[in-house]
Point group: C2
Chain length 187, copies 2
């Protein structure tokens, strides 16, 4: 028997994404976002949901570009920090000793420490209410060479992405591989 | 030094979601979706990306409703199956011995075996290209009582959600808790 807990914004698992953007003075910012996902294969697009009050909101509106950086487990404290403080107050790259790199394809920064970076051109703005979905076309993905497998695909066990449990406000790592997909072809 | 791997639709972690819908003959369907996330806090909304060719696409267009079921690790083979076969060919609930329950708040089914279910009324349709984003307003979330903690929030270690590694086409479980959030308040 299921129990109703009301219209809560719970889903499992949530990612931990760090959205990179520049402000008017070219100060780079990183915002922690857990409401985001790939949303289209062609054109390749990613969606991130951001409140209007966030510093990143105006940055993306102005620059029409952002990055989506995927942090590893070892960056969990930096990710948490980026979810607490605003770029209005400080340069979060400098505060966390992160290496600022300007994307070579869009007008947005990323931190070189993160193993995977999506470089996005703003394609659509979808005002849903308290949150606005920014839909970015992915122009390139750059990754640390040492995390690539022999086929040139990132090895998730080297990416070691972070999961955010929105319900209990805690961070988790990934666990063991369960199965390969397409193993349940029965006929 | 980062290496470019082109505009791939990679993000970490991807969830494994099972979208429940009814077809014209009231046959319940479950589609595996890994491109989806919460996208607004107020109104509470979730977005799932679905190709036009999918059986679920017309189901949602007709019924203006869907569920988002969160499977546990133990359901990984069912989830994989739901990602391979189409509801055009068969009743996936029956084929997988799943208990069909009609949502009490929207015109869509869920399988009672899954620990968390979001009940969604279609709010917006966003045609992005190959994929269409269906944005559902979450009218209720129902959960198995035994996974709730003392505050009435799901315990992610009992939900045991599945991660889909799109790059290598494999499924993973969640791992260990890393830290609580808001532990990096330094001032």
């Amino acid at each position: 028997m299921k129990k109703s807990i009301g219209p809560k914004t719970l889903i499992y698992p949530n990612p931990v994404l760090l959205v990179g953007s520049y402000d008017e003075q070219n100060v780079p910012n990183l915002m922690a976002v857990s409401w985001g996902s790939i949303c289209c294969s062609d054109p390749p697009c990613v969606a991130v949901s951001i409140r209007k009050a966030r510093y990143t909101y105006n940055n993306i509106m102005q620059r029409k570009a952002f990055t989506v950086c995927i942090p590893s487990e070892k960056h969990v404290n930096v990710a948490d920090y980026c979810g607490i403080y605003s770029g209005k107050q400080e340069n979060k790259f400098a505060r966390n000793n992160l290496t600022e790199v300007k994307s070579s394809v869009v007008d947005a920064p990323f931190a070189d420490e993160f193993p995977v970076v999506l470089h996005c051109k703003l394609r659509e703005i979808n005002d849903l209410g308290v949150h606005t979905q920014f839909i970015g076309e992915i122009l390139d993905v750059t990754v640390d060479e040492e995390i690539l497998n022999e086929k040139g695909t990132p090895n998730i066990e080297k990416v070691l992405p972070i999961i955010y449990d929105y319900g209990t406000k805690t961070y988790y790592g990934i666990g063991q591989k369960l199965i390969d997909s397409f193993t349940n072809i029965k006929r």
